[in-house]
């Protein structure tokens, strides 16, 4: 292909992603687009094809990025090359969104015709605007009886400030408006600018590890051309490799001889060492390198930490390998070794948020087959000691003795909550309870309110989101960003089982709420820890002072006093089941503690 052909092809490329709040129909729309462009035959269509992880399909959310190349024959007779880059919709994955947006020139903004704009929609739109993307509003689910497309159109204009006069009214589910969306992509999303003969600049926006091919990077070429056999250089690590394989996803992987300006695809270069490639880095030519790397994108730091321990101590190395693999295409995940008296060897891990934490735990348990114990999530506290030293605490067990502490500061977030008018009272009540500081309240279109609070992150990490959802019938949406640290009256609360302090159960709580929380935690543990052969006292303490206590009664009877006739296998199965249950418990001292107990210090649903 010569330069003119490349430029002509480039003019027919459109790169875009879809941004939407969870449940507003992003995955369904992506499927319809795949169908419409003939990327897949009907038979090949699996529901919500781009969500390829089991976990994604089960939970109905997108976690990882996916990029596909599609051919679309437009009304003007030309065939366009689309690269559709799927993005996650949850606040925890803002980081992934910003990565995919960095590889695009446009974005479809999907808004539910019944629900309207949600807090996270807003956050993602701002990200897209930061990236100079052309935003095409789409009002989805217009076939719902409760749809109010015109109201939502106004909302898009007023709340976001976008021109929504040409917003497509669509129903991905019913297949309405799909063609119009695709036509708008052709018309409105700019073709990639860039020179196919310039020095290579390709952004790595994701990567995965393949045991045969090594690290496979997902790239977007911004300048220049890369061919199989080219010598390339990673601009951040300065490592050099030879390109072994190039290709695109249609969504099946299809090999290509070269990728040029505007192309979104994959590159394999026999990269064995995971550390040699960094998501966000720029690939250039080793022979004719570019002067500057591409601008990266907003790098996210973990906000929530927890300890992950294998139930079976022998699986410590497996856990390390699992974390190494996961961090490959999830650079927001952090981990370092940690030891607990109660739980043995494990890792303290940092996550973007609670969902991120849950997802990682579930992936480790499922994909790597390691039973885990996760300690209650914690935030990072800044502690000023009386001797002037500053200490950073990411594990409650490491909080210094109270008398050595001058002050403790904890992270606060600005929480944006969008809600129908009716729930404002309820929401303010919850925020108040969670030590929130009221900021402002804006009335939007049609009985909707945008409420701003400053709330300690640790309260959000508790069950804030769950409470918000359950007390507003799921109507309220939440987005938050870190705004800095403020001093608080915080204390460490320890939990004692059978008189022994269990470090993995310690939590940091606000002094004024300590008694209440101690009571709830102790009762919760009583429910969760099964009866043992002897009575087990549970206590919550601050320093030496016991603030709450309860008892797990002794196991009095566990014997199958029943006639099973000759069905011995059945008897065996029953005993196997009981035994299996025990295997998933951790023996601490003489007490067998189930996994859920370690999270119990977190849940406050007895409120």
């Amino acid at each position: 292909m010569n330069r003119e052909q490349k430029l002509e092809r480039q003019s027919r490329i459109r790169n875009f992603s879809i941004i939407a709040h969870i449940d507003h129909g992003k995955s369904t729309l992506a499927d319809r687009i795949l169908e419409k462009t003939g990327a897949l035959t009907q038979r090949e269509m699996k529901e919500q094809l781009l969500d390829s992880m089991d976990l994604e399909r089960e939970r109905g959310i997108t976690i990882k990025l996916n990029a596909v190349q599609l051919n679309y024959k437009a009304k003007d007779g030309e065939t366009y090359i689309f690269h559709l880059i799927d993005t996650p919709g949850h606040v925890d994955f803002t980081y992934e969104v910003s990565r995919s947006l960095a590889a695009c020139e446009g974005a479809l903004l999907i808004v539910d015709a019944a629900q309207g704009i949600e807090a996270q929609t807003l956050a993602n739109v701002y990200l897209a605007l930061e990236n100079d993307l052309e935003i095409l509003p789409v009002i989805n689910k217009i076939d719902l009886p409760s749809a109010e497309p015109e109201r939502v159109r106004n909302e898009v204009e007023e709340v976001i400030g976008l021109d929504a006069s040409e917003a497509v009214l669509a129903s991905a589910k019913a297949g309405i408006g799909i063609e119009e969306i695709l036509e708008q992509v052709v018309e409105k999303v700019p073709a990639p600018a860039g020179d196919p003969d310039a020095p290579l600049q390709a952004l790595i926006f994701d990567s995965l590890y393949d045991p045969y091919r090594g690290v496979v990077t997902y790239i977007r070429v911004t300048e220049g051309t890369v061919k199989v056999g080219d010598k390339i250089r990673m601009m951040a690590t300065q490592k050099e490799f030879e390109v072994v394989e190039l290709g695109v996803f249609t969504p099946k992987a299809v090999n290509k001889d070269f990728l040029t300006v505007g192309d979104v695809g994959y590159l394999a270069a026999a990269i064995k060492n995971v550390g040699d490639t960094q998501v966000g880095d720029t690939i250039t030519s080793a022979v004719k390198p570019a002067a500057e790397p591409l601008p990266g994108y907003r790098k996210m730091n973990p906000m929530v930490y927890c300890g992950l321990y294998p139930v079976d101590n022998a699986k410590y190395n497996d856990l390390r390998e699992a974390l190494e693999r996961l961090v490959l295409n999830d650079s927001a995940l952090q981990y370092e070794p940690e030891t607990s008296q109660a739980l043995g060897f494990g890792y303290r891990c940092g996550f973007l948020g609670l969902l991120h934490m849950e997802i990682i735990q579930e992936r480790i348990e499922r994909e790597f087959n390691i039973d885990l114990i996760a300690t209650a999530p914690s935030v990072i506290y800044n502690v000023a000691m009386t001797d002037g030293e500053q200490v950073i605490v990411d594990n409650p067990a490491n909080m210094p003795e109270a008398q050595l502490i001058q002050t403790v500061e904890e992270p606060y977030v600005k929480a944006t909550i969008m809600t129908p008018n009716d729930y404002v009272g309820t929401i303010m009540e919850i925020c108040q309870k969670k030590r929130g500081i009221f900021q402002t309240m804006d009335y939007l279109e049609n009985n909707r309110v945008n409420v701003l609070y400053e709330i300690p992150l640790s309260e959000i990490v508790y069950d804030f989101f769950d409470q918000l959802k359950s007390s507003t019938k799921g109507y309220a949406s939440l987005d938050y960003e870190l705004i800095g640290y403020k001093p608080s009256k915080l204390v460490k609360m320890d939990i004692l089982l059978n008189g022994e302090k269990i470090d993995a159960l310690s939590v940091i709580v606000h002094k004024d709420f300590a008694y209440e929380r101690g009571k709830v935690v102790v009762e919760k543990l009583k429910e969760l820890i099964p009866r043992q052969q002897f009575e087990v006292p549970i206590q919550a303490s601050i320093g030496q002072k016991i603030i709450a206590r309860s008892n797990i009664k002794a196991l009095r009877k566990n014997v199958l006093a029943k006639c099973y006739g000759g069905d011995i296998s059945r008897k065996r199965k029953l005993l196997e089941k009981q035994k299996e249950g025990k295997k998933r418990m951790k023996t601490i001292g003489r007490v067998e503690v189930p996994q859920e107990a370690f999270m119990a210090v977190l849940r406050m649903d007895n409120d």
Binding site: R556, V559, I568, K571, R572
Partner: protein, 379 residues
């Protein structure tokens, strides 16, 4: 080689709320055809694996006494035809008091049945109703006295505890009445919630008021005390007998011996293999047509599984498990094979050792499953 046999009659006139054994409503069932197939199964089984001695026979259900006179007689004769042996010791039939009239008792006596196991459960008529039972206290009294009148005095009564709304006092009352009937054997079972039962579904809906664990443990304790006071020796977790009246058939299970199992949903243990028969009648019959045998599951036991079962079955007996017998069977000492498990249980005070015998302690009797599960999947 088995010297015991179990026969399953899966028909019931009504279905008890706690029962998960293989059973169907009697009405409209092809009972005679089912008996034809049982006969085929007996014939084929004995042709493949004959016995040289047959000491104990047990007919259970379902409800064996739900058969009509003719069917009942035919069935017992069939058992006698195929499983006769000069060294027979025990021939038990489970009997429901409301269906066991004098004529059925005579049929049993004439067929050589020498032991009756009567389902009593409790003596409070309202509690019986709650259980879905259709007999009353009077039916039991009558059946016992009629049986004794015919010389059938080796009688066992089934009692249940841990029942919905049952109290310790109610259990005591049941036991008092039971003792007054002067029978030599009792089985006392605690309620287990099993899937696909009325009780399970009620419990899932939160509509079943079961005694607390403390209360249930107390009932078990009272049961043991009362039995002891009245001269019944507890020889197994749920079984109590006057000396010499222990159920020899059930001891075969706990001694980990082999047994035949004939009928829909029956289980057998023959030549080191555990077989499960199909439960649904149609499947049971069609499998016999197709293969000669109704097996839906076959499990050839490894020697390690046999050793585990020797312990988790054997420890149900109060006298425990003999290491000498263990060594005769497996060529190893159980204290070597299960050394660490036994040590742990000794330390927890759940088992005791005296000479070559290992047995449950009193505390271990209450927490038997804690003991048994230690022996699962370890060898």
């Amino acid at each position: 080689m088995p010297d015991a046999a179990y026969f399953h009659i899966p028909f019931c006139v009504n279905i008890c709320h706690y029962c998960d054994f293989n059973k169907v409503f009697l009405k409209g069932q092809p009972v005679n055809e089912y008996l034809d197939y049982m006969e085929k199964e007996m014939k084929n089984t004995l042709k493949q694996s004959p016995f040289s001695s047959m000491k104990t026979l047990f007919v259970g259900g379902g409800t064996p006494t739900a058969l009509d006179y003719e069917q009942f007689e035919r069935f017992l004769n069939m058992v006698n035809q195929y499983f006769s042996s000069s060294d027979r010791q025990e021939f038990t039939v489970e009997s429901n008091p409301e269906q066991t009239d004098l004529r059925k008792l005579e049929i049993m006596r004439d067929a050589g049945v020498n032991r009756l196991s009567i389902g009593v459960q409790a003596f409070q008529d309202n509690l019986l109703k709650e259980l879905g039972r259709t007999h009353n206290q009077q039916d039991v009294v009558r059946t016992v006295s009629e049986a004794k009148g015919l010389g059938l005095d080796n009688i066992s009564l089934d009692i249940m505890f841990g029942l919905p709304r049952q109290t310790v006092e109610m259990l005591k009352e049941t036991l008092d009445i039971a003792f007054s009937l002067e029978v030599p054997h009792f089985s006392a079972y605690s309620l287990q919630l099993e899937r696909k039962t009325v009780f399970y579904n009620r419990a899932a809906k939160g509509e079943l008021l079961l005694p607390e664990q403390e209360e249930e443990a107390r009932m078990y304790e009272v049961l043991m005390e009362e039995m002891d006071k009245h001269g019944y020796v507890q020889y197994e977790i749920s079984n109590f007998a006057k000396r010499g009246y222990e159920s020899r058939h059930n001891l075969q299970y706990w001694d980990n011996n082999e047994y035949y199992g004939i009928g829909a949903g029956a289980h057998s243990y023959v030549h080191g293999t555990r077989n499960a028969n199909a439960g649904p009648l149609k499947k049971y019959m069609s499998l016999i047509d197709e293969t000669g045998f109704p097996y839906i599951h076959k499990d050839v036991l490894s020697s390690s599984e046999k050793m585990e079962e020797e312990l988790f079955m054997g420890l149900r007996k109060m006298k425990g498990v003999s290491d000498q017998r263990f060594m005769e069977r497996y060529g190893l000492s159980m204290f070597d094979v299960f050394g660490s498990q036994i040590d742990k249980l000794l330390e927890r005070g759940l088992v005791k050792r005296s000479g070559d015998m290992l047995a449950l302690t009193r505390n271990g009797t209450f927490l038997g499953n804690e003991v048994f599960q230690e022996f699962i999947g370890v060898v």
